[in-house]
Structure formats: structure tokens, C-alpha cells
């Protein structure tokens, strides 16, 4: 059996650049290699947006020991060729080309997870893992995402969004719009992931400071009401047409009001000691919910996945009011950090099987897209 050429694309110009490196190396490249079914090409996009590919880029020490720049200076930037297919080209006197069968985006946040990379891959007509361009773009805009989900009859906390520039121009107008919301409130930059610049505020002074922070990072800001008696859960899902949820997982927090960047990525890894759980230092797996509520959370997550048009993999975050038993949609992550491999493993899907399935799903979607009519004979040109 011929091995499939898989390009794992990670890094990129994003505040979650470093998180992406961990996802790619520990949860994607390693299991792909172990599967034995693929020739794996690590494709690293640095913070300036330059593309590189070299087997050495698959070693985590390169990034942790701080000699990345020297390494990149030695290897030549990669070139891409889109000739009805997606090819990696290593330039030089004798350029080397590899035609990629499946691309595996492992980027988080901007210029990657937000649909940009997917658009590029779509244009190149190559199969790729995970959500497609439109669903990624919707998922990465928390405000847009909420309006899509709301229109499908799914609950979400009451919210207001506005452009950052409108706030700096006339914050009174924005604040009066916000006055219809009840404290405590959450302030979020609309596009950023990994809890960066998210704040929970209890009064107008804190609100203004928090909006300034969010606006510092993003051109759109979302302010929403907090859910009372909060139980936060998250549901990783894979599938194109037939969906398969992992466990409904309940992140447990210590002394923090919400999942911030520190507890999610920095402290979580340390506390577990192995680092292999990465982001998920403390969580209840499966969530400690009454069976009916558990089912409802799962069903809501699946409905969100469909409503947004996700495929391949995504993770749906939900907020549950423990008293009223109402399930609210919070947000969608088109590429869950480290693929949430710990959850899938607990559910019975090993890391290797998980990436195998994701590759299969990518190929399946690529084939079914090929079946759609993409054009019909026209006589426009002749008439011209």
C-alpha cells in the first residue's frame, strides 16, 4: 500500500503560535508517524509568516531550547505549488517536490484556524483535515457564531457586540447599548482563542478596562451576561455526516473565575507533571451531570456542530445553569488544542486511531465535494 503524503501545517501568525507547536508535534505528527500509513511532512509557519518544511521541525526541543532561529536560517523557506494539486517545493539547484495527499492544519487562532488556511487548501484542491473554510470563519467570530446558533433555536447568553473603533470613537454610545446587560459580564475579543484577553467584570469601571484590553487585540468585542450556577462543559466531536461525540468533559478550575490562558496552557501542563495532557490539567471526564442533562449537553453540542457546518473535528463549549438546567452555547473551537486527545483516549479512541480517522474524514469530504457539480457547459464565451 502506498503511503499517503501528509503535510502537518502549524505555527503561523497568531497569539496561539506556541500552542499550535505543541498540538502539531505531540498530538498530530507523532501519532501520524506511529500509524505507519503516512509520509509525514511537518510544515512550520513562523511568526513572520514564512513557510518551512524539514524533518527537524518535528522535534519539540527545537522550539523549547531557543535555537529555532539558527535552525531556520540554515534551511531554506519552502515554496508552494498549486497546479491543480498541492505541492511542497524545496528550492535549490535540484529542487525537490512532494505532492501532498492530505493537509493537516494544526494551527490555532488567526491566520490558520480562522479559515484562511482552509481557503488556500480549498483552492489547491487538496483534501484537508478539520472544518472547512466557511465553518472555520464562522466559528472564529464569536458574535457571528452566536447569531447562527441562535437562529437554529439554541440558547446562548444575552450579548452585545461592537467594533473596537466605535468604542474608542464614542464609548458612551457603546456603553448605553451595554446597559441592558446584567452584571457580572464577560468581555471577549471576538476572534481570539485560548481565553486571551477575556475578562469577567462586576462593575462599569472594570468593564471599561476590560473592553480596552479586548479592543487592544481585536477589532470586534463581545460582551455577554454570565450564566448563574455555572457548570462549564466542553464536547469534542468528530465526523462529517455521521457525528461522533467524545465524553462531555467538565474542566475544573481552581481559584480562577474562568478558563484563562494561564490555567489552560501554562499551569495545566505543569500540574499534571507529564505534560501529555497539555491543556487539560484538571477536568472531570465524563462530566458529573445527571443523565438527562448529560444527554442534553451532548445533543446541544451536536446541533451546534451541524448548525455551523463543521466537519472533521471541532469542540463545542457549553455553559450550563446548574439550577435551571438550561444549556447555553458558549463557543466553538474548530481545532481543539492537542485535538483533545486525552478525552478521545478515555472514550476508547487512541491518538493514532484519532488521526487515522481524521485523515479518512478529510479524504471522504474531498471525494464527496468532487461529486458536486462545479460547472456546466456554457456558451457565454462563444457569445462574447
Amino acid at each position: 500500500m502506498k503511503k499517503l503524503a501528509v503535510a502537518v501545517i502549524f505555527g503561523s501568525r497568531s497569539t496561539e503560535h506556541d500552542v499550535s507547536i505543541i498540538t502539531a508535534i505531540s498530538s498530530v505528527i507523532k501519532p501520524l508517524e506511529l500509524s505507519g500509513r503516512y509520509n509525514v511532512y511537518p510544515v512550520y509557519i513562523d511568526k513572520q509568516g514564512r513557510w518551512f518544511s524539514d524533518p527537524g521541525l518535528a522535534s519539540i526541543e527545537l522550539y523549547t531550547k531557543g535555537n529555532l532561529e539558527a535552525f531556520l536560517a540554515r534551511i531554506k523557506p519552502l515554496q508552494l505549488k498549486m497546479n491543480g494539486s498541492f505541492e511542497l517545493v524545496w528550492p535549490g539547484l535540484r529542487p525537490k517536490n512532494v505532492k501532498i495527499d492530505v493537509a493537516f492544519p494544526a494551527t490555532h487562532g488567526t491566520h490558520g484556524e480562522d479559515g484562511e488556511l482552509m481557503g488556500l487548501l480549498e483552492m489547491a484542491n487538496v483534501a484537508y483535515v478539520g472544518c472547512d473554510m466557511p465553518s472555520s470563519a464562522i466559528a472564529m467570530d464569536k458574535a457571528l457564531c452566536k447569531s447562527v446558533v441562535l437562529s437554529e433555536g439554541i440558547l446562548t447568553p444575552k450579548y452585545v457586540w461592537f467594533y473596537s473603533r466605535d468604542f474608542s470613537r464614542d464609548n458612551n454610545a457603546v456603553l448605553s447599548k451595554l446597559s441592558e446587560l446584567k452584571y457580572p459580564l464577560f468581555v471577549k475579543p471576538v476572534h481570539l482563542g485560548s481565553s486571551i484577553a477575556i475578562a469577567r467584570v462586576g462593575n462599569p469601571k472594570e468593564l471599561i478596562n476590560a473592553i480596552e484590553v479586548a479592543a487592544h487585540y481585536d477589532d470586534k468585542v463581545l460582551v455577554e451576561e454570565a450564566v448563574n450556577n455555572l457548570i462549564e462543559v466542553t464536547v469534542p466531536i468528530i465526523g462529517n455526516d455521521k457525528l461522533r461525540p467524545a465524553f462531555v468533559e467538565q474542566p475544573l478550575l481552581k481559584s480562577q473565575d474562568f478558563f484563562d490562558f494561564d490555567s489552560k496552557y501554562l499551569h495545566g501542563g505543569k500540574k499534571t507533571g507529564s505534560g501529555k495532557n497539555g491543556s487539560q490539567g484538571y477536568s472531570k471526564l465524563p462530566a458529573d451531570l445527571p443523565p438527562k442533562l448529560y444527554k442534553e449537553a451532548e445533543a446541544t453540542a451536536l446541533a451546534v456542530y451541524k448548525a455551523i457546518g463543521c466537519s472533521g473535528i471541532a469542540r463545542v463549549d457549553l455553559l450550563i445553569d446548574g439550577k435551571t438546567k438550561k444549556v447555553y452555547f458558549n463557543e466553538v473551537n474548530p481545532l481543539p488544542g492537542s485535538l483533545y486527545a486525552h478525552n478521545w483516549r478515555a472514550k476508547g479512541l487512541s491518538n493514532v486511531k484519532l488521526v487515522d480517522e481524521l485523515i479518512d474524514l478529510a479524504l471522504e469530504r474531498n471525494i464527496s465535494e468532487g461529486k458536486l457539480a462545479t460547472g456546466f457547459k456554457s456558451s457565454y464565451l462563444k457569445q462574447y
Binding site: K30, P31, L34, G36, W344, R345, G348, N351, K353
Partner: protein
């Protein structure tokens, strides 16, 4: 011949590679030379394990390096002489020959100091020690239990030690130290007031077991099974059987226990020998067996006496040895409670049917197992235990001589019978034979052949998930790669 092979021969690391091979061959000339002749690329020799720089290893490495250096210097001088004096072309040629030949010459010459050392120093001392040991054993008042057989000796020995220690002073030979010279060392370490000595017999060549018996004077003998092993010396299974069962003859058929589950051993059982197995020991019957990932429990009864035993050892095949240890314990005067406590303390040894949890899955580490009977027992357990997904991992067996193909075909069949969902084979010369066995038993699961075993073991957590059961059997050293 590719360039890597050549550079590995002339690399400055070559002496270290050769020393490593000597060490891994336990400084035995014959296996070392065989390995040497088989190896083309020396750069990969020490990939999986590294050289332990003991005094002996350092001395040999120095000997090699100096020898090679001298030869290179000699070669260069001859070439220089040939070039300068013009008409002495022979010098030039010999010099070049010396330069080219040095890795070949010194990797062979290194055997000489080893052999001299053996004949002049090691062996005379050994003979003296062995004679002294004979007297010590002869005069020792304790019960002396000899454990012989082609497999399962160490498990039996440790099990007996665990159980008997509940009420007696017991001393047993350690690890795989089971030949004449080690028995002699063991004798030296005795204080004389031990109630029980347990001595393992590591047979290797015809006459070994007989010699061990005459040297250690056992009062009891246990034969754990017979299977093709060490056939390079024994040639036939019959010869091995005759040697192992000479223990029974030495004891005149008294206090001789034989594993009834070893089909090959059956032919040697004589009246008066007591058989043991998963059904029981002599009069004692086994019932109410329960197997799971945490161990095995069962009842042992004779007449109106009944003991409920449970052990952390895995697999039905352990019941025979557990029962025997219990019965010997009772015979040597232990109380029921002592026997029950002793059996409860028994647990798997490192890498021998040792279960551990990994990423929500159960892994049974049986990597020290190296024979087909162990494979049979392990695969039987894999078949018995429930799991969401079953994974079987092995590189195959070693030291099977002419039987290699047959044994590995059989191994493939045994694996197929356990119905794993995934079989992972470490690629080597026997991989094809195992595959044939799998195919002939119409194995329908997934098969993966791995080229980098270290990488595989290191990332096992990525391969398993909750509810998986993994059995890993026999991992050979690169000695056989």
C-alpha cells in the same frame, strides 16, 4: 557495499562498537564472532543499548584502540618508506594492506586476551570453588529444592521463596544465576542455618543438570517443563529431556514434581513422580478458578481440607505453580494461613506477565518471556480476558535454530487464536514466518510491522486508549537484530 558500511568500519567509534558487541555477548568468543561476521554496518550496533564502561570493557577498548593505532602507524611508515626508497614497492603494498585490514584484524585479535584469561585465570579458580561448594551442600542440613526445566524456572523459584518464607528461613539463587559457577558462589553465601535452599538449574549442554545435581545434593526436585531450547548444544529435544530428567533419577523418584501441562515432558514421567498443573497437585484438586487482569484466584482441596487462594500472578498457566508452592509449603509444615498469605504476596516479576495501566488501557508486559510455552500461556490469557480492543506486540522468539520457521508459524497461529484486533510485529528475519502463521489461521484483524521498536515502545500511550488490552511478549536485544 554502501558508504555507511565502510565509514562505520573505519570510524573512530569502531573500537567502542566492537567492545559493546563483546560485552553484549558476555565476553564469549563464539557468539561474538558469529555476530561480528553477520554485521555489515557497525554504526547501528549500539543503537538500542549502550556500552557500560566497566573496567574490563575499558581495558579491551584500550587494547583495540592501541592495536589499531599501532597498525595504522606501521602501515603509514611502510608506505612512507616505500615512497621514499623508490624501488621497494612491496613496502608500499604491505603498508596499504595493513591500513585497509586493521579493523578486520583487531576485531579478531581481541578474542585472544579473552581466551588466555579464561584458560589461565578464570577456570582454575572456578574448579577450586566448585569442589568447595560440593562439600558445603553435602553438609547442609536444610531442605534443598532444585528447580530445572526449559522454561518457567525463575517464576517457580521466586514463587516457592515467597510462600515458604512465610514460616521458614529460605535462601534462593538470584535472578538467572543458575550454572555451576553460580551455584558455587551461592554456596559461599550460605550461613548454614537455612531451613530451605532453592537452587535453579540453568541447563545449557548435555550432562549439565546431572552435574548440577551431583554438586548441589538436592532433596527435592521440580521440573517445570520441557520444550526446545539450547538445541545448538543438545541437538535434539530427547537429549535435553534426558538431561533435565536426570534430576529425577538422582532423587530416586522421591520428591520429584513434574509439570503435567508440558506435553513434551509427559514421556519422561515415571511412577512415583508427582505431577502438578492447573487441575491440581497429586491429591490436591483445583476448582472455582477466576481470572482477571489483577490476578488469579482458585480453591485447592484434598479430602475435607480446602484453601481459598488468590495471587496477583496473571494467567491460568500460573495455577499449577501456585498450587505446587502451596502444597510444598504445607508439606514443610506451614499453616493454612501462612500458605494463603504467601500465595497472596506472590506477584508478577518485572517484565513477566506484569500488568500496568497506561492511558486508561491495560498493558501486560511479558517482554522477558522468550519461549513458545510462554507465548502459549500469554496468548491464552489474551483470549480469555475481556477488552474493548486487544493488541498483541512481539518481535518473535530467538535461539530457535532449525525450528525457527516452524516455531514462528506456530506462534502466528497462537496469536491468531487469541483474536487480537491489532498485531504489531517488530520487523526482523522471523516477521515473515509469524505472518504465515497468522494467515494460515485466517487472522482477520489489523497487522502493523514496525521498523523502530524504541520509538514504538516510547509512544505506546499514543497507540492505546481506554479499554484496550495490550500484551507485549519477548523483546530481544540487538544481539539478534
Amino acid at each position: 557495499m554502501n558508504i555507511r558500511i565502510i565509514t562505520s568500519l573505519y570510524s573512530p567509534r569502531f573500537p567502542a562498537a566492537v567492545t559493546y558487541m563483546l560485552q553484549a555477548s558476555e565476553y564469549q568468543s563464539a557468539p561474538y564472532l558469529k555476530w561480528l561476521w553477520r554485521t555489515a554496518d557497525f554504526s547501528g550496533v549500539a543503537r538500542r543499548r549502550t556500552l557500560k564502561r566497566t573496567a574490563k570493557a575499558r581495558l579491551l577498548e584500550l587494547f583495540l584502540a592501541l592495536g589499531m593505532l599501532l597498525e595504522i602507524l606501521a602501515g603509514l611508515s611502510l608506505i612512507a618508506y616505500g615512497a621514499l626508497s623508490g624501488d621497494n614497492a612491496w613496502a608500499w603494498e604491505i603498508g596499504a594492506a595493513l591500513l585497509i585490514a586493521y579493523p578486520f584484524i583487531w576485531s579478531h585479535l581481541v578474542v585472544l586476551p579473552l581466551e588466555f584469561g579464561r584458560v589461565l585465570i578464570v577456570e582454575p579458580k572456578l574448579n577450586k570453588d566448585i569442589k568447595a561448594a560440593k562439600t558445603i551442600y553435602q553438609n547442609h542440613p536444610g531442605v534443598k529444592i532444585a528447580v530445572a526445566g526449559s522454561y518457567g524456572k525463575t517464576t517457580m523459584k521466586e514463587l516457592l521463596k515467597t510462600v515458604l518464607s512465610e514460616g521458614l528461613k529460605v535462601k534462593a539463587t538470584i535472578a538467572n544465576k543458575n550454572v555451576l559457577s553460580e551455584h558455587a558462589k551461592f554456596a559461599k553465601s550460605l550461613s548454614g542455618d537455612e531451613d530451605v535452599l532453592i537452587i535453579e538449574y540453568g541447563e545449557g549442554a548435555p550432562g549439565d543438570v546431572k552435574r548440577f545435581a551431583f554438586n548441589t545434593h538436592p532433596t527435592h526436585g521440580i521440573i517445570t517443563g520441557l520444550a526446545p531450547a539450547h538445541l545448538d548444544k543438545y541437538k535434539t529435544l530427547e537429549a535435553a529431556g534426558a538431561d533435565i530428567f536426570s534430576l529425577g533419577e538422582y532423587l530416586n523418584g522421591k520428591n520429584v514434581y513434574v509439570n503435567a501441562e508440558s506435553s513434551q515432558a509427559k514421556a519422561y514421567i515415571k511412577p512415583g513422580y508427582i505431577t502438578y498443573g492447573s487441575k491440581g497437585v497429586g491429591e490436591w484438586r483445583v476448582s472455582e478458578v477466576d481470572l482477571n487482569i489483577h490476578g488469579v484466584s482458585f480453591s485447592l482441596s484434598a479430602g475435607k481440607t480446602k484453601l481459598n487462594l488468590s495471587s496477583k500472578l496473571l494467567g491460568e498457566h500460573q495455577i499449577g505453580a501456585l498450587s505446587l508452592a502451596a502444597v510444598i509449603g504445607l508439606e514443610l509444615g506451614l499453616t493454612h494461613d501462612q500458605v494463603i498469605a504467601g500465595i497472596a504476596k506472590s506477584k508478577p516479576f518485572m517484565h513477566r506477565m506484569q500488568p500496568y495501566e497506561l492511558a486508561g488501557a491495560w498493558v501486560i508486559d511479558d517482554t522477558y518471556n522468550g519461549n513458545i510455552e510462554g507465548i502459549r500461556a500469554g496468548t491464552a490469557l489474551l483470549r480469555e480476558l475481556p477488552a474493548r480492543r486487544k493488541i498483541y506486540v512481539t518481535p518473535g522468539l530467538v535461539d530457535q535454530g532449525q525450528d525457527t520457521k516452524r516455531i514462528h508459524n506456530l506462534m502466528g497461529e497462537l496469536i491468531a487464536d487469541a483474536k487480537p484486533d491489532l498485531v504489531v510485529l517488530m520487523r526482523n528475519s522471523v516477521t515473515g514466518f509469524i505472518k504465515e502463521g497468522l494467515i494460515s489461521s485466517s487472522y482477520s484483524g489489523e497487522l502493523q510491522v514496525v521498523d523502530d521498536p524504541l520509538n514504538f515502545y516510547e509512544h505506546l500511550d499514543q497507540i492505546v486508549a481506554a479499554g484496550d488490552l495490550v500484551l507485549m511478549q519477548n523483546d530481544w536485544t540487538d544481539n539478534y537484530a
